[in-house]
């Protein structure tokens, strides 16, 4: 546990999956997935819905035990659930009337698992303020969580995860419900956090373009398989075609990348993706 609060070292390997396969009820959900995450780097976990992104998160969180392969956290077999991994789920289904301010939610990230009513403490408050500042949330720190906008809530949740001083931060589709401006803000914030605190950040998304400017590496997932590495080495026609098992076009339009898979069930989602991307490029 003492390990968790020490400053991370850039490029130190925080998490690695080695040949992870997962069988559930006779079906292979993940096949030979391998990648590693380094401190200070932002990695995108890209794939369409149902590709296995959430399952990979569950494996990393220890909620699912791989049938084969290893999950190493800082070089050691990972313990089931710990504070060293921060997790921000896709949606938290918040009750808008819950009497809780953004500041309280962040404070719960610090010691929400401890027993007893929290006593007022200067250092606790200071720490909360610092983290709120780090995600630029001072402006709405005292607002009720139910009244926050999508981007504000996202930042509050990031602060909630961040205050426990994790070495690895997992975010499940953080951009899914945001407008373009909030999207850019959150992405920029995450990149900043990764660098400043030497945290490994893994962001899942079905759309990689918003992440392109800040993503150090990509883990591309399709039907339970994954290819990983620097973006330009992974998002290529040969690599993705091998991953999908059929030909895939990778088009570079201005500074955007469109992946067009012309076959089967992927066809539909990929086409939809291009459709949503194009107007954004114009806008």
């Amino acid at each position: 546990m003492t390990d968790t609060s020490r400053p991370g070292v850039r490029d130190e390997e925080i998490l690695s999956l080695e040949g992870v396969s997962l069988w559930l009820s006779g079906r292979e959900i993940l096949h030979d997935v391998a990648f590693s995450l380094r401190a200070g780097e932002l990695t995108g976990l890209i794939g369409s819905n149902g590709a296995g992104k959430t399952t990979i998160f569950r494996v990393i969180l220890g909620l699912e035990t791989p049938s084969a392969g290893k999950v190493l956290f800082a070089g050691h077999p990972r313990q089931r659930r710990s504070k060293s991994i921060g997790y921000v789920p896709q949606s938290i289904g918040l009750d808008p009337d819950v009497p809780l301010r953004a500041r309280d939610l962040v404070a719960l990230g610090l010691d929400g698992d401890r027993f007893g009513i929290p006593l007022p403490s200067r250092s606790r408050r200071q720490l909360v303020d610092e983290v709120l500042e780090a995600v630029d949330a001072q402006g709405f720190a005292d607002a009720r969580v139910g009244k926050l906008s999508g981007g504000e809530l996202q930042r509050t949740l990031i602060a909630h995860a961040l205050i426990a001083k994790p070495r690895l931060l997992l975010l499940d589709e953080p951009l899914a419900s945001l407008d373009i401006r909030s999207e850019q803000e959150v992405v920029g914030l995450l990149a900043k956090i990764a660098k400043a605190h030497a945290i490994a950040v893994l962001i899942s998304a079905h759309e990689m373009n918003p992440l392109l400017p800040v993503m150090d590496r990509v883990v591309y997932v399709a039907s339970g398989r994954a290819a990983s590495g620097p973006t330009e080495e992974v998002v290529r026609e040969d690599v993705l075609s091998a991953l999908y098992g059929h030909h895939v076009d990778v088009l570079h339009v201005h500074d955007r990348i469109l992946v067009v898979a012309g076959k089967d069930e992927t066809h539909h989602t990929e086409l939809e993706r291009t459709r949503t991307v194009v107007p954004r490029g114009l806008g």
């Binding site: 009497p99 698992d113 780090a134 995600v135």
Partner: protein, 291 residues
Amino acid sequence: MFSGFMVNAWIVATMVAVVAGIIGFFTVLRGSAFVAHAVPQAGFAGAAGASLIGVSTLAGLGTFAAISALSIGFLGKRGRHDAVTALTLVFMLGLGALFLSWSEEYASAIYALLFGEVLGVSSNQVLATAALGVVCIAAVVILYRPLLLTSVVPEMAEARGVRTHRMELCFLVVVALVTTMSVPVVGALLMFSLMVGAPGAARSFTDKPLSALSLSVGISVAIVWTAIAASYETDWPVGFFVGVLGAVFFIAGRGWVAWRRSAAGRVDSTGHLATGPMQLATATGMNGEPT
């Protein structure tokens, strides 16, 4: 109004109100109003059974309340929570109906268990209520933060190692305890009104969790005191006043929110949402900082 047997009524009702205000805060937070309704009614069936075989009503009540709370917890892990709660409730009530059909004791006893007989509390009951009340409050004080965390962001709580399902079970057991403590004095139905009305109203008035909790206790006590006084004056049942006052406070809370919103709209249209374009704060000093 404050003499003789009434003193016990005031003491016991105040204790019940305090505990109901506290537990009710979490009941509402977790969206467990149905559970708060079902467990006391199931306990009522247990009390009917206990009177049948001649053991203490409190034991029967506690047993049935605990059984139903746990079965809601375990079955609810797999099915829809509300449907499972309904099933548990009706099964327990069905058992209650069976026990009642066997026993000779009839309507007046049932009426008392459902609607309470706060005006006929004995000193022994005062002690039992106090003891159980202390246990409940202690449990909530200990579990305050994990309960809050698992209520608001269950996925994040689970990821960091808080067992959400275990917390749920703990909470259900506390609800069963509260039930055991209060149903004999205030009745199954009144208990429920207190546990939903007061905290439901409280959260309209404040954004801070601890203030909402305190306010919930305050409103709960106010409701009970007013109800007893009114009941003493009119001779109408306490339950009527509690139920109606709960709704009145809740509506007042909603009204307060609406009024504040319209006032805020008129006076200050900026609010917190008008934070300027986001600047990426330079985040420093977070690592290696002493906690």
